[in-house]
């Protein structure tokens, strides 16, 4: 079946089964590999993308449910690492292996939309969907606070 998708502001048509997870469509059909597979069951956050500005797990979102919506992946967050979360991530040296970081960054960007000056409790609540096996959690926390500062100028 053909589905029209809007990803990072561009239109694509893909021919896949309706129940195909958005994750695999983004990765295999659209060739955007920044969005990662970690668990496939909404338990690690590696596949986090935004749909209409809200964070979702692309591994458990069917492609058919994403039609007509604005999908943003890590590749679409900024052209040049200039999103406040990306700037803060670089300043605080967050990534180690980096595999989880697309998901962490997308989750953090969504968090800041909801809570422009987040508390530690907001971070605990909204970032605990995302696993980091490298244990970058304290740097993530610092970087989210820093990104909030950057965003507010």
């Amino acid at each position: 079946m053909a589905f029209d998708l809007n990803v990072n502001g561009a239109s694509y048509t893909v021919d896949v089964e309706p129940e195909t997870p958005l994750l695999w469509v983004i990765r295999d059909n659209l060739g955007m590999t920044g969005t990662k597979y970690g668990c496939g069951i909404a338990k690690c956050g590696a596949c986090t993308v935004h749909i209409d500005g809200k964070k979702v797990f692309s591994c458990t979102t069917k492609v058919s449910a994403a039609v007509g919506k604005e999908i943003t992946t890590i590749e679409g967050l900024s052209e040049d690492n200039s999103h406040p979360v990306q700037i803060a991530w670089i300043e605080e040296d967050v990534p180690q292996c980096g595999y989880c970081q697309s998901g962490q960054i997308m989750a953090a960007a969504a968090l800041l939309e909801q809570h422009p000056s987040p508390s530690d409790l907001n971070i605990d609540t909204l970032m605990s969907d995302n696993i980091c096996r490298c244990g970058t959690y304290s740097r993530i926390r610092k970087a989210i606070h820093r990104a909030a500062e950057i965003a507010q100028g």
């Binding site: 990765r27 980096g98 096996r133 490298c134």
Partner: protein, 760 residues
């Protein structure tokens, strides 16, 4: 199928879509080329001065990295080792991977080998594995030599051009100068590459370092905040198809039958292959054949389709029948009970002595003050963030392997063997690793993908689901420990007797490493390496293996041994009514390398035993890979038994530090890794198969449970160069369980912690 051309020099894809877009009529994304630009792969142009470095006319220095970037920072630290000597401008340095194929074809320069210790291959890059916390400590000498040699050649080239002696030419920040003459490295690189020095320069001593010891920005960070870093699982090759695999849930079991007809008409499905056992690929777990135990594949089946999701769906729907291979009644309980039975019988004939001082058995038998305890640690899986995967393309005269590997030369030799090609014809394209933790040293996924690609004749990306990755882990062994100590009336130990029964990694896969029945890794930190001195001491070891494949897991034997010994020392301190810190220090011999890190961790943590009920501090200590790490955990336990690890102070003596921030990051990473295992880690076996399969069951520490971690450097300098990737894992579990004891009086003797009710 479609003809395709793989760019032979660079691992890049331009224009063409993923998934054989043309072939399958998918939409071709216009920007695929942009996001697949991979600056960490080999560069064209520029002048190679030696195998490690290339200098471009614009003075860009490209440094080749033999180790694999899996978060530990080798893409920054290894280039620093070269750049320190080269004296180029760090702002102009780029890191790329060294080429394992070249390493297979070209021998190392004699002068490099003479200077370098610990080479693993004869190849030009000498050592390309990443493990044993060895990146800096085992490669630094030949990397420094490569930089120093290049610097002196550049100086000589300038000296020749200017008609002066090399001794009056200086090299700083990528600029050569002498008197009124100056020029860039880039200008003299071509001439330098032809120069032979009469003798190679000496490398710097740590007091001369200018770049090393500073926390320069990681070179890989910008790629890791926008999705640009490519991991093995992200590989895209024109014409590529996908494989989903499932192998026997019981290691060593076999696939009896599968019904491909039931799924072969599903969309995109192309083929199915039986793996091993009459099918393709060299089967593992023929326990008679040691060589196959490590990299061999398990009996199973692969389904090939034009997208991963289609392959996976067909695989999951396809009827299959399995045979447990005689292991169908094994459980984790049965395995550990067998070990505990051996542990309970000191006269079991399978024990071998690992260390012996005086006559501990006799002293204990005659004593009336005896303290005894038994500890158990479970099997664990690595849970790499990136599930296992490998992309392969095998033709009659060439094989290409794209993989997140901790050992590219090993990937290469396994692929060569499986493809039936000489090593020179195999090209391994190392990607970034979504963590490794030891799992990605094993290469079983490389063998499996090579076999599938060879049968198929097309490039194929094999991805294991998270479930398959966990179930088909190569597990950290379980281990069991019994300790008996006798003390005088004041609680001062007189004799110490420790028996260890475990599943041995060496016995399973490298039996030639066994020494007189002892697996040196299984008794790490417990034999003569024990931090504490006893007038009488006996350490005995016995093996009780199971059918599970076992493997190195970040910090290996120390990962569990430290929990046992540091818990028992705490129990002895408690029995003696002594402060656990003072008690440890009192047992350390004169000049002990453990003393200073322990004192520093205690001081920085504000060590005290004078806390309210529900609060506690605990100590953990270990040496691994040449580095001592001492930790103090501070925990709180609520009345309802809710544990919170509030903080962990880590003091580390790795001798020297080349990048303090990378070390701090490794300490944080190690603590999280150790704490995850201590709190939650446990692999269960039921009917011979692994029970846990995904993160809903195999639980990971998350941000809301993160303690504050403070790193302190207790550096002894001198000749000591210890590793930093692993040594801070082992002390975490005992620091936390000892703190729980201080807070609650509950002694945890079996991990993980979550199985224990801490409710007062």
């Amino acid at each position: 199928m479609t003809n395709f051309e793989i760019n032979r020099r660079k691992f890049i894809v331009t224009g063409a879509s993923a998934a054989g877009g043309m072939m399958l009529g998918f939409h071709i994304p216009a920007h695929a080329a942009a996001i697949m630009d991979e600056p960490w792969m080999a560069t064209d142009g520029g002048q190679e001065v030696n195998a490690w470095l290339v200098i471009d006319p614009d003075n860009t220095v490209t440094i080749r990295v033999g180790q694999s970037e899996m978060g530990e920072g080798v893409f920054t630290g290894m280039p620093m080792l070269v750049a320190e000597e080269l004296q180029c401008d760090w702002a102009n340095v780029k890191a790329v991977y060294a080429d394992a194929n070249r390493n297979a074809r070209q021998k190392a320069e004699p002068y490099m080998v003479a200077a370098g210790a610990a080479k693993e291959t004869d190849g030009v890059y000498q050592r390309m594995s990443t493990g044993g916390s060895g990146a800096v400590r085992r490669s630094r000498i030949y990397l420094a030599q490569a930089g120093a040699s290049a610097r002196e050649r550049l100086k000589q080239a300038a000296a020749n051009a200017w008609g002066v002696d090399r001794s009056v030419v200086t090299a700083e920040n990528g600029i050569l100068s002498s008197g009124g003459n100056s020029g860039t490295f880039g200008e003299f690189a071509a001439a330098a590459s032809t120069i032979q020095l009469e003798s190679e320069p000496a490398i710097k001593t740590p007091d001369q370092y200018q770049l090393l010891g500073t926390s320069v920005a990681r070179l890989d960070t910008p790629l890791k905040v926008n999705g640009a870093a490519v991991y093995g699982i992200d590989t895209q090759v024109p014409g590529m198809v996908y494989a989903a695999v499932e192998v026997s849930p019981v290691p060593g079991g076999r696939l009896v039958s599968y019904d491909f007809d039931a799924v072969k008409d599903r969309p995109g499905v192309m083929a199915a292959y039986r793996l091993g056992d009459g099918g393709i690929g060299t089967l593992n777990f023929n326990l008679e054949e040691v060589a196959n135990r490590v990299t061999g594949i398990q009996s199973g089946v692969a389904v090939i389709a034009d997208s991963y999701y289609r392959a996976l769906t067909a695989l999951q729907l396809m009827p299959k029948e399995w045979d447990a291979g005689g292991h169908g009644d094994v459980s984790d309980t049965s395995i550990i009970e067998a070990a505990l039975e051996a542990l309970a019988n000191p006269d079991d004939p399978t024990y071998n002595p690992a260390d012996s001082v005086g006559d501990a058995r006799a002293v204990i038998a005659a004593s009336s003050n005896v303290v005894e305890a038994t500890y158990v640690t479970p099997y664990l899986e690595h849970a790499c963030m990136e599930p296992m995967n490998c992309t392969a393309h095998v033709t009659a005269d060439r094989a290409d392997i794209w993989v997140s590997t901790q050992n590219p030369p090993r990937s290469l030799s396994v692929a060569a063997e499986e493809a039936g090609l000489p090593e020179e014809k195999v090209h391994v394209h190392t990607a970034f690793l979504g963590t490794g933790f030891g799992r990605r040293l094993r290469q079983d996924e490389v063998r499996q993908a090579t076999a599938i690609a060879k049968a198929l004749g097309e490039p194929v990306k094999v991805i294991w689901t998270r479930e398959e990755t966990t179930r088909q882990g190569k597990f950290r062994p379980y281990s069991t420990y019994h300790f008996t100590a006798s003390t005088d009336a004041d609680g001062k130990p007189e004799a110490y007797w420790n028996r260890i029964v475990s599943h041995s990694i060496f016995n399973h896969q490298i039996p030639q490493f066994m020494q007189d029945g002892i697996d040196g890794q299984a008794v790490e930190g417990l034999d003569e390496r024990l931090p504490y001195a006893f007038p009488n001491k006996q350490v005995d070891y016995a093996i009780r293996d199971s059918h599970l494949p076992v493997h190195w897991w970040r910090s290996v034997g120390a990962s569990q041994n430290a929990f046992a010994i540091e818990s028992f020392i705490d129990e002895l301190a408690h029995a003696a009514g002594a402060d656990p810190l003072d008690f440890r220090l009192s047992l350390m011999p004169e000049g002990s390398q453990f003393r200073r890190p322990l004192e520093m961790a205690a001081e920085e943590a504000g060590w005290t035993t004078d806390l309210r009920r529900g609060e506690g501090m605990g100590i953990g200590l270990a040496e691994a890979f040449g580095t001592v790490s001492a930790q103090v955990a501070y925990v709180t336990v609520s009345r309802r038994g809710q544990l919170r690890v509030e903080s962990i102070d880590v003091a580390i003596d790795c001798g020297h530090v080349i990048h303090p921030k990378l070390v701090e990051m490794q300490m944080e990473s190690s603590v999280v890794f150790g704490l995850t295992a201590a709190l939650y880690g446990e692999i269960h076996i039921k009917n011979g198969a692994v029970v846990e399969d995904n993160f809903d069951q195999y639980q990971m520490l998350r941000i809301n449970e993160m303690p504050e971690i403070r790193t302190h450097f207790a550096l002894s300098g001198g000749d000591k160069w210890g590793g930093v990737g692993e040594p801070a894992v082992p002390p975490v579990a005992p620091a936390v369980t000892n703190a729980i004891f201080a807070a609650t009086g509950k002694r945890i003797r079996r991990l993980p912690i979550r199985n224990h009710d801490l409710n007062a």
